[in-house]
């Protein structure tokens, strides 16, 4: 088959199984856009800003496990994509970003819409390619998808000078059948000896904790993790990125850990004698002060990325490999030693955790139909959404208090249903990410839990939702302030709310969304909350935006005491510290 560079590019994407291309056209990408016009195998989604394209592709990737694909033009198109690429990089999300570039002979001349995309994106990509000639397009696409999806996944940028996609020069389209990059060999299978060592520690432990993160989701290891804990019955905590990898409704699940983790999770980690880290990276929201972290714990660390192990907390036993394969191996070896597992040994520890849970577990009293002043608590909004959706919706979030409330009070039983920017903490992520999820799963309920600050960072995507008829639910937890900033200002800056309120400048969100053709509801009284949310969720064919005014003084608790605190040092409310 003879094809021009632009057609080879699109055909290569189709051959990789790409369904959706999230993008925005412009001069340097026009040859490619012409090739899109002439085919109907993949669908292009025209966003309203390139940041939206990257987040939508990211949401698609998180929900499906398949790589998200983005197409932008050179210069501002490429730079606008940067925040979304960094977001995917920090959370290890597979993504391929195609960026148009000025023609080869213009590179380095400060041509119109020229920018050094390879240079700008270098610190936030897993790898990048610059196309030098049209002939190499099929090979580069193949390699890019391989790199983005294997090992520890991540974003890959391909910079494409305009001349390499010119329609007037034809090439023999003969894509490589397989890909082998001699300098790239991420570990897959674990070393069985390390597994043996891990098991001997597991059998000795009296106060064990399983701490699982986003890496376990990326590796599709939830079944193996479940099986492991059917054998062990250990208490389990998940990171913000790991929620859903172990079912929240299981008895041994303690909730999220870390900065806004549950009391029992943080206490269990601090007092543990063995921490089994599975695809989690001990970042600063988890460890608090590293020198004070879990002083008596041995660490077994399962990860595909060697550089994540012993980076912050020294591991006693490291198991490198795909987490799924490593857990499969440990389950196999454990079953052979099943008579050596003494479940009674950890009974006092499980009792201790139950005691912590009943003492200071999450405050489910907040979920109530009436309140003294009829003010709505933000936590109860999430709890109502959880009830109405039977806990089975895809939930995307933005960043701030609402994100933490969603993580604490929407209990995920399955992986890939909780979609948020954990590492970079990108406001503006939630709405475009929800678009990517809804395109992948049009028949599923997709809810974006956001705040009035975050939603305004990518609110232009409401227009994209109209164009492609994406009936997602947006729950705007409106406290008329940048809540998390304000919380820190309350706690650490004497209540001086520097630039964290809008001075009555918020739009009328209902009229705003209606102008895009969507449906809006406003809720101000606790007594209306349940009924109006139920009405909103009964609408299936339209995007519904629910603007919920909540108690603006509410803080997120628990909250770790910082700086110089350990995991046992927490604020439990505005006036209670342990």
């Amino acid at each position: 088959m003879k094809l021009a560079g632009n057609d080879m590019l699109i055909q290569s994407l189709v051959d990789e199984g790409v369904e959706f291309l999230f993008g925005y056209p412009g001069g340097a990408a026009l040859h490619i856009y012409d090739a899109i016009f002439n085919q109907n195998e993949l669908q292009h989604i025209l966003v309203r800003h390139e940041q939206g394209a990257t987040h939508a592709a990211d949401g698609y990737a998180r929900a499906t496990g398949k790589p998200g694909v983005v197409l932008v033009t050179s210069g501002p198109g490429a730079t606008n994509a940067i925040t979304g690429i960094a977001t995917a990089f920090m959370d290890s999300i597979p993504m391929v970003v195609l960026s148009g570039q000025v023609a080869s002979h213009l590179i380095g001349t400060d041509a119109f819409q020229e920018t050094d995309m390879i240079g700008i994106s270098r610190p936030i990509v897993k790898h990048s390619f610059s196309i030098e000639s049209a002939e190499e397009i099929p090979r580069v696409i193949k390699e890019a998808f391989h790199i983005a999806t294997s090992g520890r996944p991540g974003p890959v940028v391909i910079d494409i000078p305009k001349d390499t996609t010119a329609p007037d020069k034809l090439f023999n389209y003969d894509p490589p059948k397989s890909v082998k990059i001699r300098s790239y060999n991420p570990p897959v299978e674990p070393d069985p000896k390390q597994i043996e060592r891990a098991i001997s520690e597991i059998l000795k432990a009296k106060k064990p904790v399983i701490y699982a993160g986003g890496g376990a989701i990326n590796s599709n290891a939830s079944e193996e993790l479940y099986e492991l804990n059917e054998l062990l019955n250990f208490p389990v905590t998940n990171t913000l990125m790991g929620l859903g990898v172990y079912p929240a409704s299981k008895k041994r699940f303690m909730g999220m850990l870390g900065m806004h983790g549950t009391y029992q999770s943080n206490m269990a980690m601090h007092n543990a004698d063995l921490i089994i880290a599975i695809g989690a990276r001990f970042d600063d929201r988890i460890t608090n002060t590293p020198d004070l972290f879990a002083p008596n714990a041995k660490i077994i660390h399962f990860d595909v990325d060697q550089s994540s192990v012993s980076k912050i907390i020294e591991a006693n036993i490291a198991v490198f490999g795909q987490v799924k394969n490593s857990l499969r191996e440990i389950n196999k070896q454990l079953k052979e030693k099943i008579n050596l597992i003494d479940k009674n040994k950890i009974e006092p520890w499980l009792d201790q955790i139950d005691e912590w849970t009943s003492l200071h577990g999450l405050n489910h009293e907040l979920y109530k139909e009436t309140s003294d002043n009829n003010m709505i608590m933000p936590q109860s909004v999430v709890q109502h959404v959880y009830q109405i959706t039977n806990g089975s919706a895809f939930v995307t979030s933005d960043v701030g208090q609402h994100q933490m409330f969603a993580a604490q009070y929407y209990h995920f039983d399955k992986p890939r249903y909780w979609i948020n920017s954990g590492g970079l903490g990108t406001m503006g992520f939630g709405l475009p990410a929800a678009m990517g999820v809804k395109l992948a799963y049009p028949d599923e309920e997709v809810v974006c839990i956001t705040g009035e600050g975050s939603i305004q960072m990518c609110i232009q995507e409401l227009s994209t939702c109209t164009q492609y008829n994406l009936p997602i639910k947006i729950i705007n937890i409106n406290n008329e302030a940048l809540g998390m900033v304000k919380q820190w200002q309350d706690m650490s800056y004497g209540g001086r709310h520097s630039e964290s309120t809008y001075q009555s400048s918020l739009p009328n969100f209902i009229e705003l969304v209606e102008s895009y053709g969507h449906v809006g509801f406003k809720i101000e009284k606790n007594s209306d909350l349940k009924e109006t949310l139920e009405e909103a969720f009964s609408i299936k064919d339209k995007l519904v935006f629910v603007d919920v005014y909540v108690d603006p003084s509410e803080h997120v608790y628990p909250m770790l005491v910082a700086p110089n605190g350990s995991l046992k040092d927490m604020w439990l409310s505005k006036d209670k510290k342990v």
Binding site: G119, R122, S183
Partner: protein
């Protein structure tokens, strides 16, 4: 803390050097000296060829020598980070 020499063998491709140098800056490591050459004397790299199970061609890869002053733990972390770069064949301490 002591002075270390790091040897990196990487593909001789545009941009490959920048990835290694950029990584030092991104991660807050210091480079004291840096020397880079295309590898011509492939016969002297038999050990590396054997450990990676491949054959090198003249000028196909570059040799990078970096001097830096770091602790043992940080050296291990730096080597792991460099080895993670897609274009790097091997990074190790040169004693």
């Amino acid at each position: 803390m002591m002075q270390r020499n790091i040897l990196v063998i990487l593909e001789n491709k545009p941009g490959a050097l920048a990835r290694v140098v950029g990584l030092f800056h991104q991660r807050g490591y210091n480079i004291e000296s840096l020397h880079v050459d295309p590898v011509k004397d492939v016969e002297n790299y038999k050990e590396i060829e054997d450990s990676l199970d491949l054959k090198l061609q003249e000028n196909e890869v570059s040799k990078l020598l970096i001097t830096t002053t770091v602790s043992d733990n940080l050296l291990r972390q730096i080597l792991r980070q460099i080895n993670k770069l897609i274009d790097v064949l091997i990074a190790k301490e040169e004693i």
